[in-house]
């Protein structure tokens, strides 16, 4: 059943996954389309963003955000169209950026909703390079990583929306950008289209040696979004006073528990000590002031208009295909920013 005007399809958390999510994790329910009361509007979802952080919301763990409840609608940012509005700031036909989750319709009181206007060009980009992933790359790289001209910046998931933006901004700031991605096609794209200096395939048997060879002057900024073997390959290459913004550890999101040893704790902490590394975790909208967002929008708009920033989007059709779309993304099978056209 596609999106229609009679019912509201919702994808809800059926059970918390142990390890990788599967067909039992999410479930589609159907309910009535709600009616907006005073001070509310009705939104119809147009695009749904798929992002690695969503795996964390399925867990019932101490974290930066409340987990999704069992039976609750999955969290997610969307671009939606206003269908009915009892709010002055929003009119029917306006498109908005909202956090209304994996469903066809939702009510909103307009709080923390951005009005994109009646006919935004490239509306879905608000979920990617012009939105949360782009801002994550911008703020984390420039405010924590702070690359200097000639320094080496390394980022994994380099064909993804965060990694691609990190490397391109690094280049714009005069740094050397080394990407890491899964497979030759992605690596080729990262170098030839995105303009990174090098991109290493983490599936190669000699990945560690290739990374070392691509960073002859060591690593000054490692933008951490994956953890795991990439982090462990980076550690011995970090230079004195290196910086490591941490926005994710995607390769570990599906772990059912701590992996087998050896314990890399001494290597992580010993490197931080000896090389005087600064490691800083950040959650984009918690960690940075709103003032920086305006600066980001200004810079990113300028770079895109000048053709200095390339952006790749992968569109999946149908809300019913969102779960598999997310699982594939978590397994590294996406290419560019993955969104669902609901």
């Amino acid at each position: 059943m596609p999106q229609n005007t009679q019912t509201n399809r919702q994808i809800v958390l059926a059970q918390r996954p142990k390890g990788a999510p599967d067909a039992n994790t999410l479930r589609m329910d159907t309910t009535a389309i709600p009616s907006p009361g005073p001070g509310q509007m009705l939104l119809r979802t147009v695009f749904l963003s798929l992002d690695p952080y969503m795996r964390g919301r399925m867990n019932d763990a101490k974290s930066y955000a409340t987990p999704v409840a069992i039976g609750g609608v999955m969290t997610g940012q969307v671009v939606a169209e206003v269908m009915v509005s009892n709010l002055d700031a929003f009119a029917p036909g306006d498109h908005v950026l909202a956090g209304s989750g994996w469903q066809d319709y939702a009510l909103s009181d307009g709080v923390e909703v951005l009005n994109l206007g009646p006919a935004p060009a490239r509306a879905s980009w608000s979920l990617g390079v012009m939105g949360m992933p782009g801002y994550t790359a911008y703020a984390g790289l420039l405010k924590i990583g702070a690359p200097k001209v000639g320094e080496t910046v390394v980022v994994a998931a380099a064909s993804g929306p965060v990694g691609a933006t990190v490397g391109q901004i690094a280049k714009l700031k005069g740094a050397r950008a080394v990407g890491i991605a899964g497979g030759g096609a992605k690596c080729k794209h990262v170098v030839e289209v995105l303009g990174f200096d090098a991109c290493i395939d983490h599936t190669a048997p000699d990945f560690v040696d290739q990374l070392r060879a691509a960073c002859p002057a060591g690593i000054d900024v490692y933008f951490e979004n994956v953890g795991g073997k990439v982090l462990y390959a980076v550690l011995p290459l970090l230079n004195a006073f290196a910086r490591m913004p941490v926005c994710g550890v995607a390769s570990w999101y599906n772990l059912p528990g701590l992996p087998d040893g050896p314990d890399m704790g001494p290597a992580i902490m010993g490197t931080i000590l000896r090389m005087k590394v600064k490691v800083q975790g950040f959650i984009i909208f918690d960690s940075f002031a709103r003032s920086l967002y305006a600066e980001f929008v200004r810079d990113m708009t300028g770079w895109l208009e000048a053709g200095q920033m390339q952006y790749t989007e992968e569109v999946i059709d149908g809300l019913e295909n969102a779960p598999d779309g997310l699982y594939g993304l978590l397994e590294g099978r996406s290419f560019g920013k993955r969104v669902v056209r609901v």
Copy 2:
């Protein structure tokens, strides 16, 4: 043979230890007392500092300082008396703070040597609360940890010269100070003499539970100097936006290799991410500008004179006892700042 005017005893690195250093690691050699040339002075060692970082200098690993060579004199800070001087800024009888290592006599060109004057009161304190350990505590806590009034600061080796100073400065700044130390006698001292709010014995079987109970509002600053099980007990207690200055990982210095699993990497990095923690390694004289040192001397002198800072020193007699003194310190058997009266 005690210190004498005929020969120069030197303790040199005989072989690099695998794991804990032992009787084969260091060796005493005897050489002639050197003669100062133009622009040099001859120093006689009075006090030798023993510090955990010395274990790292025995390894041939990429680090912040050149390792001690096999057959080379062990690195260390000393308080020494000027015996002969061909330098204008130093006169016979002056006492100095120098980095001349584990030996009776040394030549110096006066570079990076601090003149303490002819009869300094409490000269050995320049190796502790008024020197490198005190400055490490001061700069790391205030510039990286930056505790706010009412926040909780946790530090291990709390009866040692760094930990004791960290906790006392935390209290002076209005924070709650929770120490960790080995054994009841040290913990009693940390609370009753140093004035920490609590001190947990890490040898207790319910150490983890006790630490949690002592930090009912979580941990805002963890001053990392030990690593290991203390770090792992701290991780789940860290609050959002916690800070972790890292000046050492002493419990891991004797590891011959990575310990058995599980791999705690995902727990370390996951906590940094979720709780938006800032972790920053620092090596005191590399990481902080000289300007901060003057501020430290001013503040620390004031606190000591006002009786707001307590300091405990443990003096071992004889250069020949320095190796066992260091090994005991690495095993947690020191109490307060350990120095050798040469």
